[in-house]
């Protein structure tokens, strides 16, 4: 595996001995953009990020996987449609569906990663172009609807968080039956609050699989992990810079067995 050329060295983070042993894989496809950000988020949360390459045929010894945002293969076909067939995705699908063990791999798909997860059928539904047809970048308020997934344990149900949202194809759609089932089973994990930025059905921003180990969402928690580099609201005094950190601490705590 080739190490990605990074700007500068890894950010100096106070060691978190309790969590440092937890290894979170971050997948890079050609066209992936937010892989460095996802790796930084893992580090800031106290874990150890492990770069994974799309052509790899093994997951190594990672304890969880983040599929970050971007435009894999340019998204010239359907977003995520080509990435889904990468060799590494077969491994992720196997590990996430728990056929290999009783302890299925936690997987988080962000933006393009969410699209790849629906294309992989790890999550139901699909994303189409935003209803207003434009790319949109904004600071988005989300409500955490389910705090029992691998990636939301450190949040309270009903908690509102602000994280950046940026996408072109972010409109979540599924048929009514699927939507009803998602609601009934508590698998709507995040909902847009105040403003639906893309026309997603039932204001859905993120969902999980039935087991709760696989979560996908369009907004970007990895861009809200560091003071001074996160959302700085136009409508009020900041203070939401690090609302996204909980995703990563949730899974790290779960891995080391320290969740509430």
């Amino acid at each position: 595996m080739t190490e990605l050329p990074l700007i500068g060295e890894a950010i100096a983070v106070a060691a978190e001995p309790r969590l440092a042993g937890a290894r979170i894989g971050v997948v890079t496809f050609p066209g992936t953009l937010d892989d460095r950000d996802a790796a930084r988020a893992v580090r800031l949360a106290g874990g150890t990020p492990v770069p994974l390459w799309h052509a790899d045929t093994t997951l190594g010894d990672v304890d969880a996987v983040v599929i970050p945002g971007g435009f894999s293969y340019g998204d010239y076909l359907r977003a995520g449609a080509i990435a889904r067939f990468a060799p590494l995705m077969s491994e992720i699908i196997k590990a996430a569906t728990g056929t290999a063990s009783s302890n299925p791999l936690p997987v988080l798909g962000i933006c393009n990663g969410f699209q790849i997860l629906t294309e992989s059928h790890l999550l139901p539904g699909s994303m189409i172009k935003n209803d207003h047809l434009k790319f949109m970048c904004r600071d988005q308020v989300l409500r955490v609807e389910n705090s029992n997934t691998a990636w939301t344990l450190d949040y309270e149900a009903g908690q509102e968080i602000t994280v950046p949202l940026k996408n072109q194809d972010g409109q979540y759609i599924a048929d009514e039956k699927v939507l009803d089932a998602l609601e009934a089973e508590g698998r709507v994990v995040f909902r847009y609050v105040g403003f639906n930025p893309n026309g997603s059905r039932r204001d859905i921003a993120g969902i999980s699989n039935a087991a709760g180990n696989v979560v996908g969402l369009m907004p970007h928690p990895e861009h809200a992990v560091e003071v001074g580099f996160g959302p700085q609201s136009l409508d009020g005094i900041g203070g939401t810079d690090t609302d996204g950190l909980g995703f990563f601490t949730s899974v790290l705590n779960k891995i080391v067995g320290g969740n509430k």
């Binding site: 950010i11 100096a12 998204d75 970048c137 940026k166 861009h223």
Partner: protein, 778 residues
């Protein structure tokens, strides 16, 4: 002119049936008519080519010289003036310059082993013809310039100038250009951290779409565009070469026997951002492994430019086999291949030992490549087509020894009458607002006007977060990105231009653009270090325009000396006109600054209740060329006075205050004056203030309207924590810099209250500020 090769002997090649005009043929057939005029060469230029070669050029050579000697590539009209940027340089300015003007982009030392490279370029005319692709490939081209230096691109910015906001064609250009910048830039993973937006009918048929990119690298990673080392291999990699962007080369199409090839070719190149993103990562991996000796991106003039520049900057020789170029369109002729401006391509020089490692990187990223030839020490650039020589030139004559013109210029006959026509007292200046209600209405009208309204409609289509290093972006004064995650070292960037000021006085107008960009960078707390400029002007063959260009360059280079920051690169864009009317002279100036720790950057908005608001600098009655005069349909008089010593002093105050924690917010005063700055600082975080300007009025002898709308330079407003007020005032006093406490931040009221002006609610101001672009563009 008749067809190119009417009397040329056909040469059958094994791979393609082309009628190839070889060097041998050219020597034998001196009297062949060539379409040099159609390719844009003048008679004297063609004669010069013949003189340089000692024979007539082949079709392929003609293609190369015509594109490389074009205004766009050779700077033939501006070169004599641009020299001033290299000549007027002090020791202070050289101190941190690692690579100066002339390379793909200049490189500045950031300290700690870091270097930064940045450059601004135009993509104006393609963006009018096909706004989406024109703007998209503008980003692509400037980003490849940055990669060529060995740097990782870390951010982009885009200053935009469109026609009148209500003209039916403006929406076409605006939608396309913004979507193109977003579509391409967002796919590269580069945050878009700022820019400009101006509407003016002078840009109706000629929008200005400029693009800036900035990249960072370790000192040891700096790469230059040269081909050295005899026997080193030359490789072309990235996208395949197609028929896009050929334009003029179509007159050479008669080289082809068959008439089955596509008859119409897009003059505008088509971008593939995915290919570019992969190219970025792949190049960085090449640099990391030290696998390339020299590298050059392919932009204007494609392979012609890359081969001649690499060869002439290195040992001076190169041999290239053109049939090795991977093609998207197999019907392309040699001349077309040489001129093609297909995007997302790079050329590199690789030692034989590194060939295998180079190929491994290509394979990893699934990037196509082909080995074209090798570096020689013959001093000749030799290009063959299936082994037959079709180009045999001294590469310097192509890349560097193009024609240079001393175009005649003279102060326009109309300049005096324009300067005499001051806004004050003009017909348009009747009914100047003075009553509290009128002033409130005027402020609201100002912040809703096309040039002063919120640009969020545009910037919300750009990703400002990707990379996780964006510390400031629109709507703050400068964009700030972190370079080193451990130390917080970072850079700040701002671009500015004011076509109206420059129209009124090109020398001082250009200086005002520099002063504003400098001020914006200092406002963020960064120390200004370097300048890149994009000089957008009309036709250099018009003596009036040529005078504007000469004056602007003279003004800019003089001002750089006073401010102590060098021009490290840039671009000149000429022939910008709507019909026969030239655009306002629009030198867009980008200033780059350095922050030791981006955590100390100063945002533009107020936050803390009770903080004191100070106005730095003095206000004179300077409304000529202002946004207010523009809103009233007046353009005349003299632009605001430039005082570069004051700008430098103000810059030092803002930088020191930021470094020592004496200010929590700062916003520069420029277009729209104090009125615009107050509203923007309030709307940034939705926090109001109570303002009283009596002290300013008394000291400066101006009325309230003038205090609010004048565009006097060298001013900024800052928010000072109570605990720092004494220290801040002492610093200003010690430096003898005018400073006045004009109010306090009021977090609870939800209003902007200015004494003598009806109270304005932030909600209403925001509504007015943000409604304008959606109203026109949906």
């Amino acid at each position: 002119m008749t067809e190119t090769n009417s009397v040329v002997e056909p040469v059958e090649t094994s791979s393609k049936k082309f009628n190839i005009d070889t060097v041998e043929n050219a020597a034998k057939t001196p009297d062949t008519d060539l379409p040099w005029a159609e390719l844009g060469l003048k008679q004297n230029e063609f004669d010069e080519v013949v003189k340089v070669l000692g024979r007539r050029p082949t079709g392929a050579e003609l293609a190369m010289y015509s594109v490389m000697w074009s205004e766009h590539c050779s700077y033939k009209s501006s070169k004599n003036h641009l020299r001033q940027f290299g000549d007027k340089v002090t020791e202070e300015m050289k101190k941190d310059m690692l690579v100066g003007i002339g390379e793909n982009a200049g490189v500045t030392n950031l300290g700690d082993g870091w270097a930064v490279t940045f450059k601004i370029e135009s993509h104006n005319s393609p963006s009018f013809v096909e706004p989406y692709q024109g703007a998209a490939t503008g980003i692509g081209g400037i980003v490849r310039d940055i990669i060529s230096m060995g740097a990782r691109p870390v951010a982009v910015m885009d200053p935009l100038r469109f026609g009148a906001i209500d003209h039916p064609d403006t929406a076409r250009v605006m939608h396309g250009a913004v979507a193109g910048i977003g579509g391409y830039g967002n796919s590269l993973g580069l945050p878009n951290i700022g820019g400009e937006m101006v509407f003016d009918s002078v840009y109706q048929g000629n929008p200005l779409v400029n693009a800036l990119a900035v990249g960072v690298m370790r000192h040891e990673d700096i790469r230059l565009a040269n081909a050295s080392g005899k026997g080193n291999r030359v490789v072309l990699f990235g996208a395949r070469t197609g028929g896009d962007g050929i334009g003029g080369a179509s007159v050479l199409a008669s080289e082809s026997f068959d008439d089955t090839k596509p008859s119409k070719r897009p003059a505008v190149q088509v971008g593939d951002p995915f290919a570019e993103k992969v190219l970025i990562e792949c190049c960085l991996e090449l640099f990391k492994g030290s696998l390339v000796e020299g590298i050059q991106d392919l932009g204007a003039a494609g392979i012609s430019c890359a081969t001649s520049e690499l060869a002439s900057n290195g040992d001076g020789g190169m041999e290239v086999e053109l049939t090795s170029v991977l093609l998207r369109d197999p019907t392309l002729t040699p001349g077309e291949i040489l001129m093609s401006e297909s995007q997302e391509r790079m050329m590199a020089v690789v030692t034989p030992e590194n060939v295998a490692a180079f190929e491994a990187v290509m394979d990893k990223w699934a990037v196509e490549y082909s080995w074209l030839g090798e570096v020689t020490d013959t001093g000749r650039l030799i290009i063959t087509w299936d082994g037959v020589v079709i180009v045999d030139v001294d590469p310097r004559t192509v890349a560097h020894d193009g024609p240079v013109y001393d175009r005649p210029y003279a102060r326009p006959s109309w300049q005096d009458s324009v300067q005499a026509d001051s806004f004050t007292g003009s017909v348009q200046d009747t009914a100047r607002p003075s009553a509290p209600a009128e002033l409130a209405a005027a402020v609201t009208e100002l912040v809703a006007s096309p040039n002063m309204c919120s640009k969020a409609w545009i910037t919300n289509q750009y990703d400002r977060y990707v990379g996780g290093n964006t510390a400031l972006a629109f709507p703050d004064d400068a964009g700030v990105v972190r370079v080193d995650e451990e130390t917080g070292l970072g850079v700040a960037l701002a671009t500015d231009a004011n076509g109206r000021y420059t129209y009124l006085d090109p020398y001082h107008g250009a200086q005002l653009a520099l002063a504003e960009a400098y001020r914006n960078v200092a406002t963020s707390g960064a120390v200004p270090m370097a300048v890149s400029d994009c000089l957008n002007f009309g036709s250099p063959e018009d003596p009036d325009v040529m005078w504007q260009l000469a004056e602007a360059i003279r003004g800019l280079s003089d001002a750089c000396m006073v401010l102590g920051i060098p021009v490290t690169g840039g671009n000149v864009s000429l022939y910008n006109q709507t019909g026969t009317t030239p655009i306002h002279p629009s030198p867009v100036v980008a200033v780059l600054g350095k922050l030791d720790d981006v955590a100390r950057r100063t945002p533009s908005g107020w936050r803390e209740d009770g903080q004191a608001i100070y106005l730095l600098g003095t206000t004179a009655a300077e409304l000529d060329g202002s946004e207010w005069a523009n809103m009233r349909g007046h353009l005349g008089g003299l632009p605001p006075k430039v005082d570069l010593a004051t700008e430098r002093e103000l810059g030092e105050i803002l930088i020191n205050a930021s470094r020592d924690g004496m200010v929590d917010s700062a916003h520069d005063l420029s277009e729209g004056g104090l009125a615009a700055a107050l509203v923007e600082s309030a709307l940034r975080y939705g926090v109001g203030a109570r303002i009283a300007l009596q002290d300013v009025l008394d000291r400066d002898g101006v009325d309230l309207f003038t205090a609010l709308f004048s565009e006097s330079q060298g001013r900024a407003i800052v928010g000072v924590p109570r605990s720092e007020e004494v220290r801040f005032k002492d610093m200003c006093t010690a430096r003898g810099f005018a400073h006045t406490r004009i109010g306090v931040v009021d977090a609870a009221s939800g209003n902007l209250e200015i004494k003598g002006v009806d109270t304005m609610s932030l909600a209403a101001l925001r509504e007015a500020h943000e409604a304008t672009l959606p109203k026109y563009f949906g």
